[in-house]
């Protein structure tokens, strides 16, 4: 079989379910449920810090879940402090936050603030343990921290109820080692499918209060928040492509065995 036929089949397996918006049931896994419950249990006026630790190449997997979480926060009047430890993340993170904020009518400086990027991941995490302003003297737009209304009663992790790390590499480990172990900060994470396996040990030791895994995690979270969006749509498409690949491998093996018998 010409590989181009395989390419066409893959393209069709993506395009058709997308156009038809076929919906397969999504059950909610335990780590996702825990994540959601923890955020739900926070009273209005609480503060969550969200670290957008991913660059353009992981945007497809992590943007949908970040969006769902931001929606939940703004709906519940939970304040969001967004930061990033990754150098090429600020533009993407800023665009995403503004999009959700505009949709939910959240106000910059009151309901959320984006502090941007500072180099030296470990120093940033440790520094914020004593004083956030010592690391971030201004936000991403250059406004001084002291002039941002929502930052008035926030100095360090003590005033932050949950830290969420959206990550495509080993930043979650750094957050756990430095923010959780040193400062007892509660941490939840949303990560790409490839690194999910490395996260389970932390879930077992409860160093992570919850965990979202790739597109699947996003779909589950959107389901819980009641805001179906890209995640729900995309996970169905994922299923079709995975089924296609499995099907192709099986067909390939059947033809292989038939041909071998004929020889």
């Amino acid at each position: 079989m010409d590989r181009r036929i395989v390419f066409i089949l893959v393209a069709l397996a993506v395009i058709i379910p997308m156009l038809l918006s076929i919906n397969l049931p999504v059950s909610v896994s335990e780590p996702t449920q825990k994540f959601y419950d923890y955020v739900e249990s926070l009273p209005a006026g609480s503060t969550i810090m969200v670290a957008f630790d991913y660059g353009p190449s992981s945007l497809a997997e992590l943007n949908p879940m970040a969006k769902a979480l931001l929606k939940q926060c703004f709906d519940k009047d939970i304040r969001v402090i967004a930061i990033t430890l990754v150098v090429d993340a600020p533009t993407l993170a800023s665009a995403l936050i503004q999009e959700v904020a505009a949709e939910k009518g959240a106000v910059d400086g009151e309901d959320y603030v984006f502090l941007g990027f500072r180099p030296g991941a470990v120093q940033v995490i440790l520094g914020m343990g004593t004083d956030i302003a010592s690391v971030y003297d201004t936000d991403y737009n250059g406004t001084a921290i002291s002039e941002i209304p929502m930052m008035q009663d926030i100095t360090n992790y003590d005033q932050i109820d949950l830290l969420v790390d959206f990550a495509s590499s080993d930043t979650v480990e750094s957050w756990i080692i430095y923010a959780n172990v040193q400062y007892n900060q509660k941490i939840a994470a949303g990560v790409t499918g490839v690194i999910i396996a490395q996260m389970f040990p932390y879930l077992q030791t409860e160093q992570l209060v919850g965990l979202l895994s790739g597109i699947l995690g996003a779909a589950e979270y959107e389901n819980l928040v009641g805001a179906p969006d890209k995640g729900m749509q995309w996970i169905n498409v994922e299923s079709f492509v995975h089924l296609l690949i499995v099907g192709l491998v099986i067909i390939g093996n059947i033809t292989y065995f038939i041909m071998r018998r004929e020889e």
């Binding site: 590989r3 190449s57 004593t130 003590d158």
Partner: protein
């Protein structure tokens, strides 16, 4: 000076006795010590004390410090009752601090410990926790060097057959027969990467053969420094084969540093030039499969090799032969037969034996409840 210190002690003792009297029997903490934190750059002091017993009514601790005869200042937040150490990292270098640990009860009554002797933070020149690391490093270095010298003194060193290397000559031969080029990628790694250096050594061997056959050898580079080293090495190979005329510097060129732009460029090259043999040797990331599948689609013999363990599955799936991890390093020794490489290969085998021993011994010791091997290996901060 002494007088003032005496005064402080007297006042303290007085204060202590008064606070003890009014603090529902809270006892001052014992064994409070402050020492320079070991193995750091001198930016902190560690304070230790015996945690109060559970029924003592103590609910937390507050650390207080003073510089020489200055005022007492509270540092940090109230610490939970089960803590018994605190690292004060907000200190100035060259200044001595004395500490007091204040026990706080649920009713907010307090009692202070005795003041510690003043202490300064100093940086250490050698991290004592890293001694095992240091010794292992020296031992391993000695093993490598010893094996290299024994190899150089003419002792023959056996290297096991490495599947895929027999195919190198076949691949070059086929390219020559078909009159097509050979494409060699040294991967995305920088010049100090082991995989890149191994890849360049293999490239040197391939270049010797292509020089003989006059087959064109195309090398797109991603790292500007690798480009320069590769040009030197290939030129030398052609010179040593007596074919400097066949060397074409334009065949070894810089493409771009960007990962996927590099992949796009190499993919385009493969589709247009249809090389008969493709070597993908070195460090690769996600683009590995783009290169390997495209190479397969143009019908080239592909020999891949990488130490990036995440990319190995894709090379295994898409290429004809794949050198797995350390096999890539061994291949450079196997092809060049250079005593230096052969010797260090045997040194690495010794290292593996050492790891075996550590694992077996560690398992036996752990099972009998002794955990010094794990402690030894424990990451030192």
């Amino acid at each position: 000076m002494i007088k003032i210190t005496q005064w402080i002690v007297v006042t303290l003792v007085l204060c202590l006795s008064v606070s003890v009297a009014f603090s529902q029997g809270l006892a001052p903490l014992s064994n409070v010590t402050a020492v320079d934190t070991p193995n750091d750059n001198g930016s902190s002091i560690t304070i230790k004390w015996d945690a109060a017993a559970e029924d003592s009514g103590v609910s937390g601790y507050q650390i207080l410090r003073r510089i020489a005869d200055g005022e007492l200042e509270a540092i940090g937040d109230l610490l939970p009752a089960e803590t018994s150490t605190y690292v004060d990292s907000a200190i100035e270098k060259g200044t001595a601090y004395a500490y007091i640990v204040r026990a706080v009860s649920e009713t907010e009554a307090t009692v202070d410990s005795e003041q510690t002797a003043p202490v300064e933070g100093t940086g250490e020149w050698f991290h004592t926790g890293k001694i095992p690391l240091f010794i292992t490093m020296l031992l391993f270095s000695a093993a490598i060097v010893w094996n290299i010298y024994s190899a150089r003194s003419g002792k023959d060193i056996f290297v096991r057959r490495i599947p895929g290397l027999e195919a190198v000559d076949e691949a070059i031969g086929r390219a020559t027969e078909m009159g097509r080029s050979i494409l060699y990628s040294t991967g995305l790694g920088g010049v100090s990467g082991v995989a890149t250096i191994a890849s360049m050594t293999i490239l040197g061997q391939v270049a010797r053969r292509t020089a003989d056959y006059e087959t064109s050898l195309r090398v797109p580079c991603r790292d500007p420094i690798v480009l320069n080293v590769v040009r030197e090495m290939v030129k030398t190979a052609y010179l040593e084969e007596g074919r400097p005329d066949a060397y074409n510097e334009d065949d070894i060129f810089f493409l771009t540093e960007s990962q996927f732009a590099y992949a796009a460029g190499v993919e385009g090259m493969m589709l247009r030039e249809k090389p008969a043999a493709i070597f993908l040797q070195g460090t690769f990331y996600a683009e590995s499969l783009i290169l390997a599948e495209t190479g397969n689609s143009v019908g080239a013999i592909q020999i891949a090799g990488t130490d990036s363990e995440h990319q190995l599955p894709f090379f295994i799936a898409a290429c004809d032969y794949t050198l797995i991890g350390e096999e890539l390093y061994a291949a450079s020794a196997y092809l060049s037969r250079e005593p230096m490489l052969l010797g260090s290969l045997r040194g690495q085998d010794w290292g593996k034996l050492l790891i075996f021993a550590a694992i077996v011994l560690g398992v036996v010791l752990e099972l009998s409840g002794v955990s010094w091997i794990t402690t030894l290996l424990q990451r030192v901060s």
